[in-house]
């Protein structure tokens, strides 16, 4: 199956704002995450994955008339924001959900949103 016709999915990771967990909690999670990413790569599912700096470091831009307005902070209010994401290719939603399920287990208790990519 070629990359062009294989659908891609965005797996967004939602995490609460604030301090990251201490290393003794975080380290094993990151190790498991790395292992999952490797498995995704080995199976040809992995396309791209990133972790993000906290939402307080974000800047929102919006065009208004000739100007572009700038706001400090993330676009959405709230206590949880995207902390990172993985892009995968999968044959169908079931396959994508299976990877998403694995990711959610590694990142327990964070939520993972699986969303089909329309183009790109």
């Amino acid at each position: 199956m070629t990359q062009q016709i294989s659908p891609k999915y965005l797996l967004s990771i939602y995490q609460p704002d604030g301090e990251a967990p201490p290393p003794e909690v975080l380290d094993p999670i990151m190790a498991n995450l790395a292992a999952l990413n490797e498995e995704m790569q080995a199976k040809g599912a992995w396309v791209f994955a990133v972790g993000l700096h906290p939402p307080s470091t974000a800047t929102v831009l919006k065009a208004k008339d000739d100007d572009v307005l700038m706001t400090d902070g993330p676009f959405t209010e709230g206590k949880e924001h995207i902390g990172g994401f993985t892009i995968i290719q999968a044959a169908d939603l079931d396959e994508a959900l299976e990877w998403g399920r694995r990711l959610a287990k590694v990142l327990d208790p964070l939520s993972v949103e699986v969303r089909p990519i329309a183009f790109g």
């Binding site: 659908p7 999915y9 044959a91 169908d92 939603l93 079931d94 994508a96 959900l97 699986v114 969303r115 089909p116 329309a118």
Partner: protein
């Protein structure tokens, strides 16, 4: 005539065409085209010997015509899918798997339950959007939007059109059965058409998955509950099981339901639907053997424990061990928000010679269905009269003579 064939064959035809075209909307358009043609031809030329096959072949040809005329992007894709396969022959046959694929797609767990229900009724039941909207008391545009959005998700997210692999089948099947049972329960006190539709879907499932005992369990449960429909409602008022005119039970449905229950027993792979069906089979064979009912509820509690099951079990316990024991069990349940909890308490209290008024009022506050509210109001009036009699006659022993009631009616 065409309406009947439409209802009976729409799901089959759309399922086959979805496989051929790779798109549900295209499949629906093609099948509707074919029925429009049938409405013109059949009254003149007569109904063909195999109407379903005729509809499917015509729909397929219509789809090809349409694809040749138009050249929108998604249809090009579908055209490719269609032309990859050889012509006619086996493809337009009803592969039994097609409707199964459709059922599992409609009931995919990534879709909201309401969307699963709407899609199942639309694509497999052949109900129109307007009919589904009416059945669920939702404005038609709301229901239309719900269906469009769900179909959009199926297409964009690529919800697969296939029967789940064995490892996933038990969970996925549970979701399918839950959707059919939900449709049935929507019809329980209301639309008979929904009840009948759920039974029809249950029969299709049993035909497609004959080795799944829970599929048969659900069918039997629905048949046995539906068999009492005529007796259950008198002028829109609920009649409790013990007070029902048994001559108004549908004997054919009782017999078929009991037959299926016996078949399930031989399988000896009990599940929640089979056990509920077995309980209803006992009720369908009066006088009810309450010890057997309690034993079946014990089994149900063992595999699918819930406070609601415990409440129904307590109703049976009232018959085997008396209302005092039943009341102790009911009072231990955390079901304050459920109207039947209070209705059952009221019944037990009055059988113990106590005033059920407060419990009936609590039930009335929580009940939503008009027929259930009417029933509770009637019982409140009876309770008030009873209290007056008592005050007048100082008769402490006058119990509500009403024997067992079963909430499953």
């Amino acid at each position: 005539m065409i309406d009947e064939i439409f209802r009976a064959e729409y799901g089959r035809a759309v399922s086959v065409l979805t496989r051929l075209l790779g798109d549900i909307d295209l499949a629906e358009e093609a099948v509707q085209d074919a029925f429009t043609t049938a409405a013109q031809l059949w009254p003149v030329r007569g109904v063909p010997p195999a109407p379903a096959g005729w509809i499917i072949t015509t729909a397929r040809n219509r789809a090809i015509d349409r694809l040749r005329r138009e050249s929108r992007g998604r249809e090009k894709l579908a055209e490719a899918a269609l032309l990859q396969r050889g012509p006619d022959a086996e493809e337009v046959q009803d592969v039994p798997d097609d409707r199964l694929r459709m059922i599992f797609t409609c009931c995919h767990p990534s879709l909201a339950l309401q969307a699963q229900v709407a899609l199942t009724l639309k694509l497999l039941g052949g109900l129109t959007t307007a009919e589904i909207a009416r059945a669920f008391l939702v404005p038609e545009p709301t229901m239309a939007q719900r269906i469009v959005r769900a179909k959009g998700k199926i297409r964009a997210a690529r919800i697969p059109y296939r029967v789940p692999r064995d490892a996933d089948l038990p969970d996925r099947l549970k979701a399918v059965l839950a959707v059919v049972y939900l449709i049935f329960n929507e019809g329980y006190l209301g639309k008979q058409s929904l009840e009948a539709e759920a039974i029809r879907l249950g029969r299709v499932l049993a035909q497609l998955m004959p080795d799944e005992p829970e599929v048969w369990g659900l069918l039997a449960l629905m048949l046995l509950v539906a068999s009492r429909r005529e007796a259950r409602l008198r002028d829109g008022e609920i009649v409790l099981l013990a007070d029902q005119d048994r001559s108004r039970w549908n004997a054919e449905m009782v017999a078929e339901g009991q037959d299926v229950v016996r078949r399930c027993l031989r399988w000896n792979r009990p599940g929640p639907y089979q056990l509920q069906a077995a309980i209803n089979a006992v009720h369908s064979d009066p006088p009810t053997d309450w010890h057997q009912v309690v034993a079946l509820y014990d089994q149900l509690m063992a595999i699918a424990p819930s406070p609601v099951v415990a409440l129904h079990r307590a109703v049976a316990v009232a018959e085997t061990r008396g209302p005092a024991q039943a009341l102790r069990e009911v009072d231990a349940l955390d079901l304050d928000r459920y109207h039947l909890f209070h209705a059952v308490r009221a019944d037990l209290l009055s059988r113990l010679g106590e005033d059920p008024t407060a419990a009936l009022e609590a039930a009335l506050e929580r009940a939503e269905h008009p027929a259930e509210r009417d029933l509770l109001r009637r019982r409140l009036r009876l309770a008030a009269a009873d209290q007056q009699n008592r005050a007048g006659e100082h008769d402490q022993d006058q119990h509500d003579p009403h024997p067992g009631r079963d909430a499953s009616g």
